[in-house]
């Protein structure tokens, strides 16, 4: 590789910088989601995590999944969570009484799980790289859904209908 090529603009550098910045924000926000005592703050930190996930999807070239993530999660699921928080009138700071031994066991489980998964991942995909440069277009996704994955797609639509009816039946006053 000549000097000219090495000094040429490398589009992966800003991509990597963006990855690590967004990943740091995501990990911090995820920690706040599970540790903050204020339930509304937890929901707002969850927005940061979900937006970070959408940004990672776009960095991976999955634009349609990223946009769907923003629409469905940040647009709908978070609003649903805020409704749930308001309707149950969860007292702010109600998680202060979490038993410390329970928290310790949960932290131990999380750390062990992370250790096992990281070991497995590093062991198998040691230095594999993602070299895909072109993004997958929305048209390709649509073709895949309606050709190869038409049966799971129909199953998901039935599942959504079942969840809709189930949620109404469970939550209505009678």
């Amino acid at each position: 590789m000549t000097d000219a090529v090495i000094l040429a603009y490398d589009p992966e550098v800003p991509r990597q910088i963006a990855f690590f910045l967004i990943a740091a924000v995501m990990v911090f926000s995820a920690f706040r989601v599970v540790t903050t005592k204020n339930v509304v703050h937890a929901a707002l930190y969850l927005v940061l995590v979900l937006a970070g996930v959408a940004a990672q999807f776009i960095l991976l070239g999955a634009e349609f999944v990223g946009v769907t993530q923003v629409l469905v999660y940040i647009g709908a699921v978070i609003v649903l969570f805020l409704f749930g928080i308001m309707l149950t009138r969860a007292e702010l700071g109600d998680d202060e009484s979490v038993a410390t031994e329970r928290r310790g066991m949960a932290a131990l489980t999380g750390v062990l799980l992370f250790g096992v998964m990281t070991y497995a991942v590093v062991d198998v995909f040691d230095d594999q790289t993602i070299d895909r440069t072109e993004a997958s277009t929305t048209g390709q996704i649509g073709d895949a859904i309606f050709k190869e994955y038409i049966i799971p797609f129909e199953a998901v639509s039935v599942l959504l209908l079942a969840a809709l009816i189930g949620a109404i039946v469970i939550a209505r006053k009678d």
Binding site: E12, V33, A42, L80, F125, I130, R132, Y149, V156
Partner: protein, 102 residues
């Protein structure tokens, strides 16, 4: 030449998954448990999309979309259950829910 490694996405997803598991185990507020489950589902989606980009196929992205749909349905039913629990027992503290304990 900077390389984008598959591992960086997988380890980020592992971190989010572990944090979500900690939240499910340590939190007692029902809404917070559901939020932690959302963290877990999102980490799985990062894995699916990362492998999709790694292999150059679309299957992972399509299944990430299915996971998003299933997660939306799960939140709807889960919050309905939490609301019912609140209406019946005036608490959403999962450690106080022991009606089915033998």
């Amino acid at each position: 030449m900077t390389e984008v490694y598959l591992n960086q996405f997988l380890i980020l997803a592992a971190v989010l998954f572990s944090i979500g598991v900690y939240g499910v185990l340590a939190r007692r507020n029902g809404v917070m448990v559901l939020m932690s489950i959302e963290l877990i589902l999102n980490s799985v989606n990062i894995n699916l999309v990362a492998f999709s980009a790694f292999r150059g196929t679309l299957g992972g992205e399509v299944f990430a979309l299915f996971v998003i749909a299933v997660a939306a349905a799960e939140v709807g039913v889960g919050l309905a259950l939490v609301l019912l629990l609140y209406r019946n027992s005036k608490t959403i503290d999962f450690s106080e829910v022991d009606a089915m304990k033998g």
